[in-house]
């Protein structure tokens, strides 16, 4: 009995180490969104002038599973992830929509002309009205929206090939299988 008492500190520590290990597995940069499993906010945004793509509204996001990508010409990580989005738009049929965040129209236009335009429609959110409703923390961010227009996933920061293959695309497949 007394022996067991001396084992107690070790046992407590073992439990603690397990928690530490579990804590390390999660991504500290992952910020849970209050909007997960909520419908996308009601909004309607004008297009970015001169790009030749329509603007973005709540209605656009209903009907098919889609990605909404928050981007800006002034944001270096957006430049990093952009080629992935361009490739995705060529190689798959997943609709990608852009939310142009606090950006001047001519800057956004020049940026898309230079790097390519993967977006089916782009909402011009110069005044940061809609991004606030989405709870956007900073560019880039990407949301996965299901058929009914519900936000199902949020990623903060640049998309990586790994993330795309292991998280975003499987999720899109799964959501497409939903009724």
């Amino acid at each position: 009995m007394k022996r067991l008492l001396f084992l107690l500190p070790l046992a407590l520590f073992a439990v603690l180490a397990g928690y530490f290990y579990a804590g390390l597995q999660r991504d500290p940069a992952e910020i849970p969104s209050a909007l997960i499993d909520k419908p996308v906010p009601e909004f309607a945004l004008a297009p970015v002038a001169g790009v030749g793509k329509p603007g973005l509204s709540t209605a656009t996001l209903k009907g098919d599973v889609s990605l909404v990508n928050v981007f800006a010409s002034w944001c270096p990580p957006c430049r990093v992830e952009h080629p992935l989005l361009v490739r995705l738009s060529r190689e798959s049929d997943v609709p990608i929509y852009g939310l142009n965040y606090k950006d001047k129209a001519e800057d956004a236009r020049r940026w898309l002309a230079e790097l390519g335009n993967p977006y089916r429609a782009i909402g011009w959110d110069f005044e940061n009205r809609v991004a606030i409703d989405f709870g956007v923390y900073g560019a880039p961010e990407t949301f996965v929206i299901d058929r009914k227009g519900t936000i199902r996933h949020r990623h903060v920061g640049a998309i990586t090939p790994d993330l795309l293959d292991k998280t975003l695309l499987p999720l899109v497949q799964k959501l497409r299988a939903e009724p």
């Binding site: 007394k2 022996r3 001396f6 084992l7 500190p9 070790l10 520590f13 073992a14 603690l16 180490a17 928690y19 530490f20 290990y21 579990a22 804590g23 390390l24 999660r26 500290p28 940069a29 849970p32």
Partner: protein, 677 residues
Amino acid sequence: MIAEIGHFALVLALCVALAQSVLPLVGAARGDSALMAFAKPAALAQFALVALAFGCLTYSFVVSDFTVRNVVMNSHSAKPLLYKVSGTWGNHEGSMVLWSLILGLFGALVAGFGRNLPPGLKARTLAVQGMIGVAFLAFIVFTSNPFERVFPPPTDGRDLNPLLQDPGLAFHPPFLYVGYVGFSIVFAFAMAALIEGRVDAAWARWVRPWTLAAWSALTLGIALGSWWAYYELGWGGWWYWDPVENASFMPWLVGAALLHSAIVAEKRDALKTWTILLSILAFALSLVGTFLVRSGVLTSVHAFAVDPARGIFILAILVAAIGGSLAMYAWRAPMLKGGGLFQPVSREGALVFNNVILATAAATVFIGTLYPLFLEALGGAKVSVGPPFFNATFVPLMIPLLLAVSAGPMLGWKRADLAGALQRLRAAMVVSLVVVAAAYWFADRRSVYAALGMGLAAWLFFGALVEWAERVRLFRAPMGTVWSRAANLPRASWGMTIAHAGLGLVVMGIAGVTAWQTEVIRVARTGDAFDVAGYKFVFKGVTRDEGPNYHIARGTFEVYRNEKLYAVMAPERRFFPVAGMSTTETAIRTNLLADLYATIGDPESAAQTGNIPAFLAPVTPQTAWTVRIYHNPLVPWIWLGACTMVLGGLVSLTDRRHRVGAPARVRPTDTVASPAE
């Protein structure tokens, strides 16, 4: 070249530490004195090599060698020299080198000064110290190389986080680390004792000075950190129960418990397994503290590096060190024989009471700090446990402890007379009651708690003085006798009196600022005048200026007391363009009884443009600014008291009995009856 020498020295130090952790243990097991004696030169060499590496890194920072990645990421050529030097440890890699440096220093001290330690104990202690060295040096060499080069070298660096460019914080990490790492020696002693299967009074006497040194340094480190948070963060608070503050506070609490239980182990040969456990826990919590700060397992403003690979490595160190030592404890501790028996009411009983409460308090802080982690791992929400939790749990725990602090030293060993002890403390009791009444009637009739807090503080302070007066027979014996008794009083006893009185000052500061702080947050235009706690503040507007590596917005207040100019206060906001960060520089005017504390915020209707902060936006003299003014009564006493506690620790350290190996001086005139502590 210099960087390569540093890197090479680190790798060599790792090799030496490996040998140091194995050979002396083998020697001690076989009784081979040559192998045991290897521990000393190894410990000295390990220290010299890490010191060389640290010197190389410091040199790279001082000459702004931008071919070294670490310097690029954390320094800038325009930075003042002090912060170039402190930049060495103001980042993840450098701070780990500092950790190892201090670890090496303590090992070298034991090797150099532990001449009278039994050779087996010394060899085993240094071997355990060597193992800790291996873990940390391997961590540096394999995951956090501070000497990594960058090519092509950039023309200038990215600057140190400006919040860290501050004298208070320049010295905060070294003291904190001396505290953390100091417990490693105590830990090594505990492990050596478990391996030998013997803990005696001599062992406790060797452990105590190291505990004292570590605890004193930790106290100073925490006080510096709290002082920094007070004047740099600009919110008028001095403690935020931030996870990283808690990380340093937990080893402090356990260290304080250890300090007291080691006395019982030394004097009465009791509480031995408990003392061993506390030695392990104090260092374990220091490691957990490092883990919390370094791994990003709890997100906090303090976290330098969020890198899962490093996190796994540190976790492996934790599991090996803590898991290994606790397993050793479970295996060997039951074999240790218990010592002297005692009654519940006795000096030992009081020290047990102290230990139970300090350990419970540490556990409370631990649970509060890690609760978010537990909850999240179970799939719960992200929560943060804030001051309300700690105020509701920690504070009530402390009250009985603080009440007992003054009575404990009045009790005799083995069996004591509580009524008699309280009888002798009458004077302190009367003074405390007078303080309660005075605080209630004159200072503040709204708050009974504030008055009780003041009374508690007075009880601690005067209780310590009364105990001292008892010992030297003040007012009872002729002055000559008093003088000689005071001169012969052991330094450890002086240390206790000073430290307990310092604790009283801390409590008074906390109670004062908590109950009577005045906070004024308002919008002010040039020429506006307003009253804060009896002082008239006149806002004279905001001017712009340039520092060596930052832009300044400086507000000016004229402060009048009874229509006479009392002070001119000039709080600043600074923007560091290279780092793209801003800091708040509060203006503090203290008279040691209270602080006036002023900060400026942002101008009205100005916004951040690009990365230029709002306070540098174009404004007119008519623009209104947000200003925050605090009147913080007694707050300086918190740090004054903490420094007094450190002083008590240092005085106690100079006690002859703590000098390992110092021959006991026989004093025929020694009239002090009871051994002091």
